[in-house]
């Protein structure tokens, strides 16, 4: 037998898409049969090696997936709760600042009122009685 199976035909055979002609050839040709057997041995040995190798690698125990899943599903709820807690913690500070601001506004208003009343005066406060006498005299003797 001169025509042996090509590498592609052997690959096809191992992949499960060999033809009837290939099967017949493999029954009759010791060379191709040997080549196929060697290749299949190598593939099987690789599978065993990798499985053994993987078994030697320690896997760290998985963290509880249930907990991680629940957190993942509820993460927006957790975020909202954290935001609400933060807002509540800041409320007293806000209220304190508002009260301080309002007290300052009251003081400012009182000061402004005093300034206005001072400005309304036409003479100094010490001369006010004299001004009153003069005003009364003018009214009596126009």
């Amino acid at each position: 037998m001169n025509n042996h199976l090509s590498s592609a035909e052997i690959s096809d055979w191992v992949a499960g898409s060999g033809t009837a002609e290939c099967a017949e050839h493999l029954r009759e040709c010791a060379v191709c049969s040997r080549e196929l057997t060697d290749f299949e041995w190598g593939l099987a040995a690789l599978g065993r090696s990798v499985r053994y190798w993987a078994a030697q690698q320690n896997i760290e125990p998985s963290r509880p997936i249930r907990g991680r899943g629940d957190f993942g599903r509820n993460r927006w709820r957790w975020a909202a709760m954290a935001a609400a807690a933060g807002a509540m913690a800041l409320l007293p500070v806000h209220w304190n600042r508002t009260a301080q601001r309002e007290a300052q506004w009251a003081k400012d208003a009182e000061l402004l009122s005093r300034v206005n009343s001072e400005l309304d005066r036409t003479v100094p406060a010490t001369m006010q009685p004299l001004m009153d006498l003069m005003t009364r005299g003018m009214e009596e003797n126009p």
Partner: protein
């Protein structure tokens, strides 16, 4: 017991048991694909986390193992798109090598010379798989490491059985081509 055998969705009721049963297989596939223990560990955990979150979508058309492998393959595809895998592709040649475990290949039926030849062949195949495309490597590893049949692989990858054969044949052809150059 028969309920879980007949209806795969029943199996997901006890998720801790699902993890205990299939964690090794998913990790092994991830390890063989990525060739890095930590990366494989991370991918395995991501796989089970995604499975847990989407467990209500599992309809039981395939086995739980097939479904988990589908998730693992999708995660590997996601990683293949990231730059991180490009880094691993560059470094994987120096990563841990399963062929560095000669006792695995010990076979009393083989002569020492045959064992040496077999070791060399295994090493050559392993190196060659590192150069396969993502799809070819997944098909190859599911077939020869996970020992899945062609229909199972088709279900995992969401392709037809004929396409699986085609990818597998091309993968084997590439491996044989590389082996011819190295052995």
């Amino acid at each position: 017991m028969t309920a879980s055998m007949d209806d795969p969705t029943e199996e997901l009721q006890d998720f801790d048991r699902v993890v205990a049963t299939y964690e090794r297989a998913v990790f092994r596939f991830a390890l063989a694909s990525l060739r890095d223990r930590d990366d494989a560990q991370t991918l395995t955990q991501e796989c089970f986390l995604r499975a847990f979150r989407h467990r209500n979508r599992f309809r039981g058309k395939a086995s739980v193992k097939t479904w988990l492998m589908q998730i693992a393959v999708n995660l590997l595809r996601d990683r293949a798109r990231s730059r991180r895998l490009q880094f691993w592709r560059r470094t994987q040649q120096s990563a841990i090598d399963p062929c560095a475990l000669p006792n695995v290949l010990t076979n009393r039926e083989l002569s020492p010379e045959s064992q040496t030849l077999l070791s060399e062949q295994v090493r050559a195949i392993w190196q060659a798989t590192g150069n396969l495309s993502g799809m070819q490597r997944s098909v190859f590893l599911l077939r020869f490491v996970e020992e899945m049949d062609l229909l199972e692989i088709a279900s995992v990858l969401g392709i037809t059985e004929g396409t699986v054969k085609s990818h597998l044949s091309r993968a084997l052809g590439n491996i044989r081509e590389r082996m011819r150059k190295t052995v």
